[in-house]
């Protein structure tokens, strides 16, 4: 297997090169530049021109590309035009915020979704199953931003149980106080998002279990007199987890994606908001760095999913 993983990683190199070319050229195709948004009547057009020359924006694209790639190998993604800081510093600050929140949300999602899916599948067609399915339809139907605004209004403002925005309180002090404050700030956005992200997991798990229940090998196990509990945990559950495992890799690498809705409504500065604002402000260095990071993460996500699959199902061997 290690050989296969190594081979997959080597194949990624040309993929990443093509990705970087596409990202860079497409970014340059966008109309406007990082300075368009900061024009005021007092701005001097000739000074703007000089600044653009200084920033190398008028160089031919291959010169800019070469420059960018060489710097990237030195771990330097350039300087953000809007933040006037190194891109890694800007992204780093946001990535930590997003990672915390996403991790919290993903764990919560699985904690809610897996038991629900298991129960619904095991007690198929009972009232419990119908209740869970109803919950599923409701969460599937509600748009995320409506749910978030509603939740924020109810729990943040009317009841006042949770902070209404931000990632950490201004008055938090000390390492421990900071962590507690961060956790406290994550509860509301995390729980709300997790509730709405359970749908597919519950649904997949339920239908897989229903499927497996009628397999011959389950009937055989039952006929041999294997206790129902064991039939369920040994024969049904493991097979049913396959589709979920298939998504696991993406979930892990997707932790850095961030959600524009959550970040906007809870004024939680994360990767999603950064990406959106960078695009509208034409902050090329941040855009290209982010897309590269996302692209590489997606490639590793696929690999990771394959590896997880092979662990869960020994019949699958990645080649």
């Amino acid at each position: 297997m290690w050989k296969t993983i190594l081979r997959r990683i080597i194949i990624m190199i040309p993929q990443i090169i093509i990705l970087s070319l596409l990202v860079f050229i497409l970014a340059k195709f966008m109309p406007g530049d990082p300075f368009t948004g900061s024009i005021t009547p007092q701005t001097d057009a000739s000074q703007l021109h000089a600044l653009k020359v200084q920033a190398g924006l008028y160089d031919p694209w291959y010169t800019q590309y070469a420059h960018w790639v060489v710097n990237m190998f030195h771990g330097n993604f350039g300087t953000s035009y809007q933040f006037k800081e190194s891109v890694m510093t800007v992204i780093g600050g946001r990535a930590i915020n997003t990672l915390w929140l996403s991790l919290f949300t993903v764990i919560l999602t699985y904690l809610i979704a897996i038991p629900l899916g298991l129960l619904a599948g095991r007690y198929e067609d009972t009232n419990l199953d119908r209740g869970i399915m109803f919950f599923n339809y409701v969460t599937y139907a509600i748009p995320l931003f409506v749910f978030l605004v509603l939740g924020l209004w109810l729990f943040g403002y009317v009841l006042g149980w949770f902070p209404s925005g931000g990632s950490v309180s201004l008055s938090a002090s000390g390492a421990f106080g900071n962590i507690l404050s961060r956790l406290y700030h994550m509860i509301l956005p995390g729980v709300l998002t997790a509730l709405l992200s359970t749908t597919s997991t519950v649904q997949y798990l339920r239908s897989e279990i229903v499927d497996q229940k009628h397999q011959d090998m389950v009937a055989t196990a039952r006929a041999k007199g294997v206790p129902e509990r064991k039939v369920f945990s040994r024969h049904i559950l493991r097979n049913s987890l396959l589709p979920i495992a298939a998504f696991m890799g993406y979930s892990i690498t997707g932790l850095l994606g961030g959600s524009v809705f959550v970040e906007q409504i809870f004024t939680y500065p994360g990767m999603g908001q950064l990406f959106l604002n960078s695009i509208s402000n034409r902050d090329f260095s941040v855009i290209t760095a982010l897309v590269m990071i996302y692209g590489i993460l997606a490639l590793f996500g696929t690999l990771l999913s394959d590896i997880i699959m092979s662990i869960v199902d020994p019949r699958i061997r990645i080649k």
């Binding site: 406007g32 701005t43 000074q47 924020l152 403002y157 209404s164 931000g166 004024t267 604002n277």
Partner: protein, 588 residues
């Protein structure tokens, strides 16, 4: 409060500042029944000692945290640092520089100098006094290529020797002379009447803590800890804690020269426009910055708050594509054969617009039709007798008939040569109101027989819009855009022959003459300048070079426990040190 530069950039139709250009604060649409929001608020109850003021910065974009006037270019940072960031000079309500600030300014027309005398009581938040070196060093920060500051402009290059320093040919700026420990003399090539007003751009109105940042290279200054993490201010409060992109805590600067500030703490938090109404209903904040007009409608009656407001230094306008900018000569060139070159056509378009009705419907009483290209925030210079272009379809039709735009069988007019006339209107993306408003105008123009279609058939992204408009693309005949202004009203940078931002490229000998008159030596006499302004406004309306559309009142919610709050332009009367609260919890 801070108004030394034109924050904001280009907003359009005011309402649209959503995510696309988070840096403009003139957001709001607009009406003819102007509400008279008070400029100040002060609770009648007696103040408590200390207390925490909670400020909401309503925005979709996180602030950047570049705590330096010469380096930051976004409105969020300016809002977030106003509690410590005080300009050098005090102003009156007309933005005129007066005595009584951190420094006093004396202009000398004969010797072509400005003398800046620092008040000896002024100290940085680390206790070190503000000295001449600090004022002088700010010019180096601004002009050195290493900092890549956008505030190095043609206006500032009017200082002797600064261009040589900018080009790296001189070690010092010869025109910025340190006379003694607390006096700096600036030498200009030409004196301009605008120099009497704050926000003029001919000299810099801030200082840099030389003793603190002298060892940081210009290139690294913007990302240095001295600017980002532990900045120094000589204003009433100093920065004590920052949570990147979301909140900032300010505590009193005990060295403040006008007396120790009254509050114990000021907490500023970025709040999403989606949730600010709920936040105010839950009484979470004392003061809001950047409240849009649609939010204003939702919160104006919330108990415990008083709405205050002031006229924004910003406006929306309709421009016509009349020529090109020649980058080689640095001049606008008007094309006499351009589709929109006929003033009668432009006037007819203006008279067909039902701006008053639109404002009544969409602005919640905050906006109003502009009558000239000078917003009424410049009450002294705006021509109050001007009527602008009130809705008059009869007049519009008559103008077109007279100019030879004949109506065809399909109800649309042809150009005077009998050819089909289609006018392409470039529009920037906005909110749902923007779409309705633009559709309405297109219908209005149809009423007078003009076929107007959107450039590209849709609303354009901000960057795309400005790229097309600035290049005078042939698929743009007219465009709706907006300006945020600095507090010096000279229209030179926006409408002159040499102004790249005169994006319609309107040029005429008369215009050049009138504009030059506004900035002439004679105009040092204020009444002469007021008169010159009036003549220029009349001329621009006569030519309908641009159609002035809308100006707005920017609203601010203030909780009733706040004392001594003011939006006045007169910084001589207000500073954050005076603000107090009357109880520990917000008024409900």
């Amino acid at each position: 409060m801070s108004k030394k530069w034109s924050v904001g950039a280009v907003a359009v139709l005011a309402a649209l500042t959503l995510a696309a250009c988070g840096n403009s604060k003139s957001a709001s649409s607009t009406s003819s029944s102007k509400p008279t929001l008070p400029l100040t608020y002060s609770s009648k109850k007696s103040a408590i000692k200390g207390g925490t003021l909670k400020v909401a910065e309503v925005n979709t974009a996180a602030f950047k945290g570049i705590w330096d006037n010469a380096l930051t270019t976004n409105a969020e940072d300016a809002d977030m640092m106003q509690f410590g960031n005080e300009g050098l000079f005090a102003t009156d309500k007309n933005f005129k520089i007066v005595k009584g600030g951190a420094a006093n300014l004396t202009l000398n027309q004969k010797s072509k100098t400005a003398t800046i005398k620092i008040n000896p009581k002024v100290k940085w938040s680390d206790g070190k006094p503000l000295v001449a070196q600090d004022v002088a060093y700010a010019y180096k920060v601004l002009a050195n290529k290493g900092t890549a500051s956008q505030y190095y402009t043609g206006s500032i290059a009017n200082i002797k020797g600064i261009a040589a320093y900018h080009a790296g040919k001189a070690k010092d700026i010869s025109g910025v002379q340190i006379k003694n420990k607390r006096t700096v003399v600036i030498h200009f090539k030409v004196m301009k009447p605008g120099m009497k007003t704050s926000g003029n751009g001919y000299f810099w109105e801030n200082a840099e803590p030389y003793h603190y940042i002298k060892n940081v290279s210009f290139k690294k200054l913007a990302s240095s800890d001295q600017i980002r993490k532990h900045p120094l201010f000589y204003g009433p409060y100093k920065l004590s804690k920052e949570v990147s992109g979301e909140s900032v805590k300010w505590v009193p600067n005990t060295y403040y020269y006008k007396g120790t500030p009254k509050l114990k703490e000021i907490d500023v938090q970025v709040v999403s426009p989606d949730s600010i109404a709920a936040a105010l209903k839950a009484h979470k904040y004392d003061v809001t910055y950047g409240l849009g007009s649609s939010t204003y409608a939702k919160v104006k009656n919330v108990s415990g708050y008083t709405m205050t407001g002031k006229k924004a230094l910003a406006y929306d306008y309709l421009g016509f594509n009349l020529g090109k900018y020649d980058a080689k000569t640095g001049k606008n060139v008007m094309n006499k054969n351009a589709k929109m070159a006929n003033p009668s056509l432009r006037k007819a378009i203006a008279y067909a617009m039902n701006i008053d009705a639109v404002e009544k419907k969409f602005s919640y009483g905050l906006g109003s039709r502009m009558t000239t290209l000078i917003p009424s925030a410049f009450s002294k210079y705006q021509d109050k007798s001007a009527k602008g272009f009130p809705l008059n379809l009869k007049k519009a039709n008559a103008l077109l008939n007279k100019a030879g735009y004949k109506k065809g069988k399909d109800g649309y007019r042809t150009d005077p040569n009998g050819k089909k006339l289609t006018i392409h209107l470039a529009e920037m993306q906005g909110n749902s109101n923007t779409q309705a408003i633009v559709k309405n105008y297109i219908q209005q123009w149809k009423k007078i027989g003009l076929r107007v279609t959107l450039t590209n058939g849709r609303f354009l992204d901000m960057n795309n819009f400005y790229e097309k408009v600035q290049a005078n693309s042939s698929d743009v005949d007219m465009f709706e855009a907006a300006w945020s202004l600095s507090s010096e009203p000279s229209p030179m940078d926006l409408y002159s022959e040499n102004a790249p931002f005169n994006m319609g490229r309107f040029v005429s000998k008369e215009n050049t003459k009138l504009l030059n008159d506004i900035d002439s030596q004679k105009a040092f006499n204020t009444s002469y300048r007021v008169n010159a302004f009036k003549k220029w406004q009349d001329y621009m309306n006569k030519e309908a070079a641009y159609v002035p559309e809308i100006e707005v009142v920017q609203s601010y919610a203030v909780n009733n426990r706040v004392k001594n709050w003011s939006l006045s332009n007169a910084s001589k009367d207000f500073n954050w040190a005076k603000v107090q609260v009357t109880s520990n919890s917000l008024s409900k």
